[in-house]
Every structure is written in C-alpha cells, then in structure tokens.
C-alpha cells in the first residue's frame, strides 16, 4: 500500500485521513514526507515564503495524540499551505510585499483558527502576488513561483503558491483568496481543484484586505471531495466579520452523490471569446458534452454584460484597494522610511515598500475615486455591476449551474505578459464576473492542451456550493485527470532511486 514518501504526498486528504484513522500512517510521518519533499523541490518551485517546520511537527504530534484518543475530525493531521495574506500568530505574514516584511500578526485569521481547532498541520506560508494583485504570481516582492507542469511557465495568480503547492505535492490542501479569479485561475493553470465560495460564506477576519466587496477565501485540493471537506471546516458565520453570512452551512461532502441526472446546466455563448486557445475550447467542449452524457440537461443562457465585467472590475477593485492600502503608512506596522515630515514619511515608505502593480492599482483607484471622476468611473462601475449581477439572477431562473472555461488559455510562459498590464488582466476575463456578482465558482481539471492543464469552471447561485461541487465531483469521477500529476525533476545534485 503506502511504502514510500512520494506516495504519501500523492494521497488526497480524504485518503490520508483514512490511513491516519486506522493508524496505519501517523501524522508525523505524513508531515515529514511533505517537509522532505519541500526541501527537495521548493528551491526550484518557489512555493513557500516561509516554511513552518517546527509548528508543523508539533501540530502533527498533537494530531497523532488526537487520532489515538479517537478525537479526530476531518483535516486532523492533514498538511496545509496558507496563502501569505492569511494572518498567523506563529509565522510572519507579508502579503508578498516588502512593506510587510517581518510583520507578525497578533491574531490568527478565523480560517486559520478553525483549521488549528480541527488539528490541521501548517506547512507554511505560500507565495502570492503582492497584496493578491496579479494573475501570474510574478508580482511577489520575494520570488517567482514556477508551474510544476512546466517550470518555464507561470502558476497563475494571485494564489500561485497555494495552487502550485497542491499540484506539486508540497501540501495536501491549501487556502487562497479570490478577488477576481485568484483561486480559480491558478487552480486551472496548475491542474488542481479550486473553489471561490459565495461572498460572505467564509469569514475574512485576518485576511489582508484587497477589495472588500469582492475578496473571498477558499480551498485548493487534488480532489473535489477534499475541497468539500475543507470548505466544511472554514465556512460559516463569524461575529467578527460583519459581511459573513448566517446562512446555514450544509453537509458538502454528503452532496457529492455522483448523480447529476436531470440537472439543468447553462452554457453561455459570451464565454467563447476571441483569443481563446483551440486546445482549451476543445477540452472544455468535451467536458460539457460529458456532463450531458452523465444525465444533465444543457440549456443555452445569455449573460450579455460579460464583456463589461473586466473593465468594471478594474475600476471597482483598484478603488477599494486604494482605500484599503492607505493603512500601510509606516506608523502602525511594517516598513517605515523615516523622513523629516509625516507626509514625506508616508510617501517614501509607500514609494519604497510597494511594488509596481500595487502602485498602479493605487493610482488607478485614487483616480477613479477623485473629485470630478467619481461619477464617471466609480459610480458608473457600480451601475454596470448591477447589470452583471442581473444577468446571473435571470439565469438562475432557468438553470442550476453554468459552465465555462476557467481561463481562455493554459499557463503562459514566465515574463510573457509582464510588460503589458492589460494583457495580464485578460487572464481573469472568465473568473471576474463571479466576483462582481458574489456567486460561487469551482475550477476543476478537464484535460490538457500541449501537456498543460485545462480547467472547467462551474458557477452557481449564491450559497449553492453544494450544487456546483456535486457537478464537479460527478465530472471528476467520470474522468482520470485527477490521477495525473506533474513529474518533478529532482535537483541535479540529488539522485533519485
């Protein structure tokens, strides 16, 4: 059965949980296998900004005690990576930014606290685009993340670290955040499952704020079942986040019946755009056909304002970011570049502490909110947001879910889009509408194009995570993509038996 460390790091969380429960495997063994693999491969991949070795080993030992005492819950002893925008009391939290280098949060994010209570093991803080702004992880102030399927390609972003960690077997499960696609798009590029829950489904206390009307935390995993298990742990109301919902949390794993007979699944023509890679279109079309053969009824729907979602997002998100990032002022935490006056201290701290993309978005947001432009940009974007949301509201009268490609392309080469910000923004053209409407979306692997993963996105009405996970799981079971993992080349100096 399980006889080598590389097999251990290939297990899904659900599989590992079964071996842990039978005590055939210990949480310490599992954690050590992951830590070893991180040592072997992370210099090359750049997934972790901070490895929490000691915390992980202590948590694993505690998990073993719980498992022996019969006090385990799902995720007890499961090694997890946390995107470095999630605050942790026992490790630095940098948001991928120089301005927060060395910052230690005095509290845990609510999702981190919940994982701790369930006995999860924290392998480390995963790399991200600075303040979660980017589509390739190339905006991290610290280092690149390489796509495990092809190390000259981007992993996607902004949650490039968490996505690549799960794809490469450097974590069993991870958490990221999604403001315009930052979970689904890298999940797609790395060939793993990634879920953006409904706005309000998961508490954001302790998530470094980027755009507060859009941000949401969600899981990455190697199976839909693991995503359901992880969502179960992190979902639910939090009195400390007033935007978190009191909507009851259903049993997500129980929803994975494998049966989608009679389900109405919408296909929107607006998600076939110019510039879509033929290999992506082919794989997605096949996946949609598969859903039909599994018993779903395909229904044409129209989302006529889809093309306006991207420009609307690039007003709304930077506007909110420009306000949220005002807090990085060299006074309360992080970098301070001292100057003779307070104003110059602000300017120099922010000028030196923020990277190019964060500066661009602060400028764009400040412009959209400034007197004289506020109505033409900010208010106009809010009105278009209403139209985008109405498109979806109307569709939910006809269908249970909508399917679309997660991205128009597979992972692109490192450096290919860094000179043209708008080209980079286009990588999120299919994921942004869900954030604007506040609805849930899951990305699930649906094939390969030239050896790189292609991803199917399944969108649902607010709080219909159980529905979209059921569709994703039924599809996953009908295919073998989930079993295919990237082959990592060991570093030249180490020999592999």
């Amino acid at each position: 059965m399980i006889d080598s460390p590389s097999q251990l790091t290939g297990l899904t969380a659900a599989e590992a949980t079964r071996s842990l429960a039978s005590r055939e495997l210990s949480a310490v063994e599992l954690t050590e296998a992951y830590l070893k693999r991180i040592e072997q491969f992370d210099d090359e991949l750049g997934v972790y900004l901070h490895v929490m070795r000691e915390t992980a080993l202590a948590q694993a030992a505690a998990a073993d005690r719980r498992l022996t005492a019969g006090d385990a819950t799902p995720l007890t002893g499961i090694p997890v990576a946390l995107k470095d925008v999630l605050c942790t009391i026992d490790a630095p939290t940098t948001a991928g930014s120089r301005i927060l280098e060395g910052f230690r949060s005095p509290y845990d994010a609510t999702v981190v606290r919940r994982l701790r209570e369930h006995g999860a093991v924290f392998l480390g803080k995963a790399n991200t685009d600075e303040f979660a702004m980017g589509s390739s992880n190339e905006n991290s102030a610290f280092k690149l993340v390489r796509n495990p399927w092809s190390t000259d390609r981007v992993p996607g972003g902004s949650s490039g670290g968490p996505a690549a960690a799960v794809a490469a077997g450097l974590a069993a499960v991870s958490l990221g955040s999604d403001t315009g696609g930052s979970i689904r798009q890298p999940a797609g590029f790395c060939g793993v499952v990634g879920l953006k829950p409904t706005y309000g489904r998961v508490s954001r206390l302790g998530l470094m704020a980027f755009a507060s009307s859009l941000d949401q935390i969600g899981p990455f995993s190697r199976s839909v079942e693991d995503t359901a298990i992880t969502l179960q742990v992190i979902a639910g109301h939090d009195p400390q986040d007033s935007t978190s919902s009191r909507e009851p949390v259903p049993d997500y794993r129980a929803a994975l019946s494998g049966d989608i007979t009679g389900m109405k699944i919408g296909v929107a023509e607006e998600y076939s755009v110019e510039g879509m890679e033929p290999g992506v279109a082919t794989a997605v079309d096949r996946a949609v056909e598969r859903l039909r053969s599994l018993g779903a009824e395909l229904v044409r729907v129209s989302l006529p304002h889809t093309e306006y979602a991207l420009p609307t997002y690039y007003i709304t998100a930077p506007a909110e970011a420009s306000a949220n990032l005002a807090r990085y002022d060299g006074v309360k935490y992080g970098l301070a570049v001292e100057a003779p006056t307070l104003r110059e201290t602000y300017e120099r701290t922010r000028g030196e502490g923020f990277g190019a993309e964060v500066k661009r978005r602060i400028m764009l947001g400040t412009y959209a909110l400034s007197s004289g432009y506020y109505d033409a940009y900010y208010v106009k974007a809010q009105k278009v947001r209403t139209l985008i949301k109405r498109d979806f509201d109307e569709a939910w009268g006809k269908v249970d879910a909508i399917v679309a490609p997660t991205s128009p392309t597979v992972a692109f080469p490192l450096g290919a889009r860094t000179d043209d910000p708008y080209q980079m923004y286009l990588a999120d053209v299919f994921t942004i509408p869900a954030n604007m409407a506040g609805i849930p979306g899951v990305a699930v692997p649906c094939g390969f194009s030239d050896g790189l993963p292609v991803s199917l996105q399944i969108l649902g009405p607010p709080f219909a995570e159980a529905t979209i996970l059921r569709v994703a799981d039924a599809y996953e079971r009908s295919e073998t993509w989930a079993a295919r993992r990237p082959r990592l080349e060991p570093a030249a100096t180490t020999s592999q038996p």
Partner: protein, 92 residues
C-alpha cells in the same frame, strides 16, 4: 494623483505609469457604451444592512501585542512626527 495617494514615485516611474494607466483607461472606457441612467448602483452583493452586535464590552487584544509591530512607539503609543507645528510647510 500620486500626491493624493501619498505615493512617492520617481520620474521614471511617473513616465511609465502615465503610459500604462492611459492604456488601461482606454480599455475601461468600454463601459461608456452602456446606458446606465436608470440603473441603481451596486456597492456590495450581500443582502444585509447595518449589521450590529450587542453593546457589550469584550476583551480586546493587549496593547503591547498591537504595538509590537510599530516602527516607533513610546509610552504605550504609536509615535509619529508632529504635524501641528509643521502644518504650514507640510501643506505646501
């Protein structure tokens, strides 16, 4: 704009950003094609307003824990440059 955002930018950064932001704004102008005169704005998508909690005092984080990350602190406070005396030079 950079002054409004309290961002210190070099001349080279300003030149580069002017080009990039102009190009981004051209793409964004696509939304002008939509007639939104009678459409209400959406600021947020949750069906909740005015979330309140009971007016009960609860424990907060210790002051020392909050101040630990401060670049400069003094006697239990964040320390900043005086702004009142310097207000005139500062505003110019």
């Amino acid at each position: 704009m950079a002054e409004l955002a309290r961002l210190g930018l070099s001349d080279a950064e300003i030149t580069r950003m002017q080009d990039q932001l102009s190009s981004i704004l051209e793409h964004i102008a696509a939304i002008d094609r939509l007639d939104t005169d009678v459409i209400p704005p959406t600021a947020q998508v949750v069906a909740m307003t005015n979330v309140t909690r009971p007016d009960v005092v609860t424990a907060s984080l210790p002051r020392e824990a909050i101040l630990e990350n401060a670049p400069r602190q003094s006697e239990g406070f964040f320390e900043v440059h005086a702004i009142l005396g310097a207000a005139i030079e500062d505003a110019s």
